[in-house]
Amino acid sequence: MKDDDKAGRPGQMQTELNQRKPRGRLGRDVQSKIGQQLRAMYDGVVSEGVPDRFNEMLRQLDEKKDQNEKGAD
């Protein structure tokens, strides 16, 4: 879009090749940047593990089940 804006930015040399790519198709580096960002965002949540509420919920369901089974006997 605005190639002029990029003049003088650090790392400029590495981008020269990419800028020759035709529009409408993503270069592999752009795809990989999007992939990195997506995974970093996703993995940030995954690394939070299992919130207590879910462990607690399953535990309560188990207790309820035990009570029902005892009641049924």
């Binding site: 879009m1 752009v30 965002m41 996703y42 299992v50 919130p51 879910f54 919920m57 089940k65």
Partner: protein, 184 residues
């Protein structure tokens, strides 16, 4: 309806990625956690229809996705969101650092059509194969591939990434610093 310990463990093991999927879909942590909770309840209630030996995580993703879509259809009738402001409001959740680090990215993600968003997340972040993602979304493998491609193109467009440098070292470094600093 007995739920044996191994099944329960497999369900809990799927929770972290189910949450990540739900947050990516809905853009909202509280809504996502409600979705995960509902998914667990449905999975437990329907455990008889789970085929032992198959992928528990994929099965639960399918349940969550269906729940999200039926909720989304309901909400869409309630909220007209012509300019995407609703989508933007969904992406803010300031109190949890890992959810704001990628605000710009999340905002862009929220603007994708749901079909494209879920395909991209399943393949690009959850690590499912195209075939698994197609099974979860109940569509053809080719459809998933084209949705993922369109999603990437649209994201690159929204984030104005034309080359790697546009998303460059500053962005990445900041995200890494924020990630490191936020969890200390």
């Amino acid at each position: 309806m007995p739920l044996d310990a191994a099944l329960k463990d497999a369900m809990l093991a799927a929770v972290p990625s189910l949450r990540a999927f739900a947050i990516s879909l809905s853009g909202n942590v509280d809504r996502a956690d409600d979705l995960v909770q509902e998914t667990l309840l449905r999975a437990i209630a329907n455990i008889d229809s789970f085929q032992p030996g198959t992928n528990m995580s994929a099965w639960m993703f399918t349940i969550l996705r269906n729940l999200f879509r039926s909720e989304y259809r309901k909400r869409r009738r309630e909220v007209e969101d012509a300019d995407g402001s609703y989508a933007e409001s969904l992406t803010s959740h300031p109190e949890q650092s890992s959810h704001v680090e990628f605000k710009e990215f999340r905002t862009a993600l929220a603007k994708l059509p749901p079909d494209q968003r879920e395909a991209l997340i399943l393949v690009g972040a959850s690590g499912f194969s195209y075939e698994e993602a197609a099974a979860i979304c109940e569509c053809a493998v080719g459809t998933i591939k084209s949705r993922v491609n369109r999603a990437r193109t649209r994201l690159a467009d929204l984030l104005s990434i034309e080359s790697a440098e546009d998303f460059g070292p500053d962005h990445t470094t900041r995200a890494i610093l924020a990630a490191g600093g936020g969890r200390g």
